[in-house]
């Protein structure tokens, strides 16, 4: 199971890196979203997938799964959701003002 997860994480990171390096802003944003999925899976994998029971003391016989990684992922998902929605709006505004979604044209060389 862990090997499987690591392969998926690897593929996600590869695809996300490719998207991040492209010029189109929407692709970059999709890249950041994919990256965050990859790291959430990584945290899940590091907490060891399906090691034991639900951590309800006395209700279920042990051994228990570590619940902390899942709590961490939950927090991280909320944050990445918020950031992604913000950056989408920002990208739209920047597109409306600059009349382009090409990062090459958004370089802004006038100060360099």
């Amino acid at each position: 199971m862990e090997t499987m997860m690591i392969l998926i994480i690897g593929v996600l990171v590869v695809v996300a890196t490719y998207l991040l390096l492209s010029k189109n802003i929407i692709r970059i944003i999709l890249g950041t979203a994919l990256l965050s999925h990859a790291v959430h899976l990584l945290i899940l994998t590091i907490g060891e997938v399906k090691k034991g029971d639900v951590p309800l003391l006395k209700e279920t016989p042990g051994p228990y799964t570590d619940a902390l990684p899942q709590a961490l992922i939950l927090t991280a998902i909320v944050i990445s959701f918020g950031v992604t929605s913000f950056i989408l709006v920002l990208a739209y505004r920047a597109y409306a003002q600059n009349k382009t979604d090409d990062m090459e044209e958004m370089r802004g060389d006038e100060h360099e």
Binding site: T32, S36, I46, V83, F86, L90, R93
Partner: protein, 492 residues
């Protein structure tokens, strides 16, 4: 247990939420922001004195004991920075009241600033690595919105880069967190430090340490600063001042915590790398301040130089140099805020951003002109002012370590900083006055008051260093002896 420690985090966030409901009532917003930040300063002074008298103050949230719950830890280092943050924010907001204008004020600028302050304070105080990530995100999300406020082509364009690079840095942060939790099975900073010491920081842990170095270097602008000049150029003056004064400092603080508390063992690898990165940062920063004519660009590169200089203190890693670094951080927060405010004011008066189009401001604004002079000397580290003591102590530490190249480059950078501002001073402040109808003839009083206060503070911090020194020594004592921190958290 000291419940007051949570106030620097909870107070600004709580008031920010309330302010969101008063969007149209600017007066209420101003009064509440003003009084919150004033209250924060008072609380922080009280907490700082408590830390000095009673040792490190710890708060375990919900009564969950240290490695299991989230703890807030107030040591002298954190408290000094939290106090300086609240002072800088307070003065910048006074400047903002007269300079922002209604469109900004109705676009939630005060709640956002308070949220950012809450995030910054949380990052300084937290004793849990994941909580540090969350506080970073609170601070960053507020800063994303603040940097875009006002719109406009250039601002939106630069904001995208700022947001994307920070999202990427946060991603590395999460990867580092996953790795460290996988290897050590804890996220409490004191507990991590204990476990790293037990297993003797092997190659794997050193790699993780370097991953964290990349993360915080991106946030602090240590070598990986390519995003910084563009982003710090675009926000309006009081917001840019807070960015320049506070945001990079959080990254620097995190580097200091990480490499004095959790990963202090492999100094050959980590601290040497930090030293090399710091020297490179200083050199590139020097090229930047000399190479540009755009005032805002010069200021942004000044931030970069000081980041490099502070981290030389960690490179030397002696008690003196760490004292110097703590002192220099405080000085730098004050003086960078002043620098940003003054440059912003010059642009406000003249409407120009290139310094060779501006001449002879001192004839019309004598107080402003001489204040610029004081600020310049303090930034360069001339004795009675606050920059001197920090530089001296870091220099002493570097001599003890025998790092003569670092000390040479470090002090040469002071000369270059002086040169970069002297250019502006001689041309734009001194020099023949030219009559230009487009220039404004008055600086509003409420803009001058915070700037003069900053000027006085740098003088007080320099002349009255004796008053602050016990606190700074206390901070450096904890940084050099991590077991004090660990014991305070784990064995209360």
């Amino acid at each position: 247990m000291n419940n007051l420690i949570v106030l620097p985090l909870i107070l600004p966030i709580f008031i920010a939420v309330i302010l969101i409901f008063f969007r149209q009532q600017i007066r209420i917003q101003r009064i509440l922001t003003f009084s919150t930040l004033l209250l924060l300063i008072i609380v922080n002074i009280y907490l700082l004195i408590q830390v000095k008298v009673n040792g490190i103050q710890v708060l375990q949230f919900g009564g969950w004991e240290a490695p299991f719950g989230i703890s807030f830890v107030a040591d002298a280092f954190a408290m000094l920075l939290v106090l300086t943050t609240s002072i800088v924010a307070f003065l910048c907001m006074i400047y903002a009241f007269s300079s922002l204008g209604e469109t900004f004020e109705k676009m939630f600028v005060y709640p956002l600033v308070l949220l950012m302050i809450g995030g910054i304070n949380g990052s300084f105080l937290t004793g849990d690595l994941f909580n540090l990530f969350v506080c970073f995100e609170v601070m960053l999300l507020a800063s994303y919105v603040l940097i875009t406020l006002g719109g406009g082509k250039e601002r939106l364009r630069e904001s995208i880069k700022y947001v994307v690079i920070n999202v990427l840095a946060s991603w590395f942060f999460l990867v580092g967190l996953a790795m460290i939790y996988g290897t050590l099975g804890t996220l409490n900073m004191a507990h991590l430090a204990q476990r790293v010491a037990e297993v003797n920081q092997g190659p794997l842990l050193t790699t993780i340490a370097l991953l964290f170095l990349v993360v915080f270097a991106l946030k602090a602008g240590l070598l990986l600063f390519f995003w910084l000049p563009g982003s710090y150029r675009v926000p309006t003056t009081p917001i840019a001042a807070m960015f320049g004064a506070l945001l990079t400092k959080v990254g620097i603080y995190a580097i200091f915590r990480m490499f004095t508390l959790i990963f202090p063992l492999e100094t050959n690898i980590t601290h040497t790398l930090i030293g090399v990165m710091a020297i490179a940062t200083i050199i590139f920063g020097c090229f930047g301040v000399m190479g540009f004519k755009d005032l805002r660009q010069i200021v942004a590169y000044n931030v970069i130089i000081s980041v490099g200089f502070v981290l030389l203190g960690l490179y030397a890693n002696t008690t003196e140099s760490l004292e110097g670094a703590v002192f220099y951080l405080m000085h730098d927060m004050l003086i960078k805020a002043l620098l940003f405010l003054m440059i912003g004011t010059i642009i406000y008066i003249t409407g120009r951003t290139s310094f060779d189009e501006i001449k002879g401001l001192i004839h019309q604004f004598p107080l402003f002109g001489w204040l610029f002079f004081i600020m310049m000397l303090s930034l360069a580290g001339i004795p009675p002012l606050s920059g001197f003591i920090g530089k001296l102590l870091i220099g002493q530490g570097l001599i003890d370590k025998g790092a003569y190249i670092a000390i040479g480059i470090g002090f040469l950078s002071s000369v270059i900083v002086l040169y970069s501002l002297l250019r502006i001073f001689l041309k734009s402040i001194f020099g023949e006055a030219t009559y230009n109808q487009k220039f404004k003839t008055k600086i509003p009083k409420m803009m001058l008051v915070p700037m003069v206060t900053f000027g006085l503070l740098t003088l007080v911090l320099g002349v009255g260093a004796e008053i602050m020194m016990p606190y700074v020594e206390d901070a450096a004592r904890v940084l050099t002896n991590p077991e004090i921190y660990i014991n305070a958290v784990l064995n209360p």
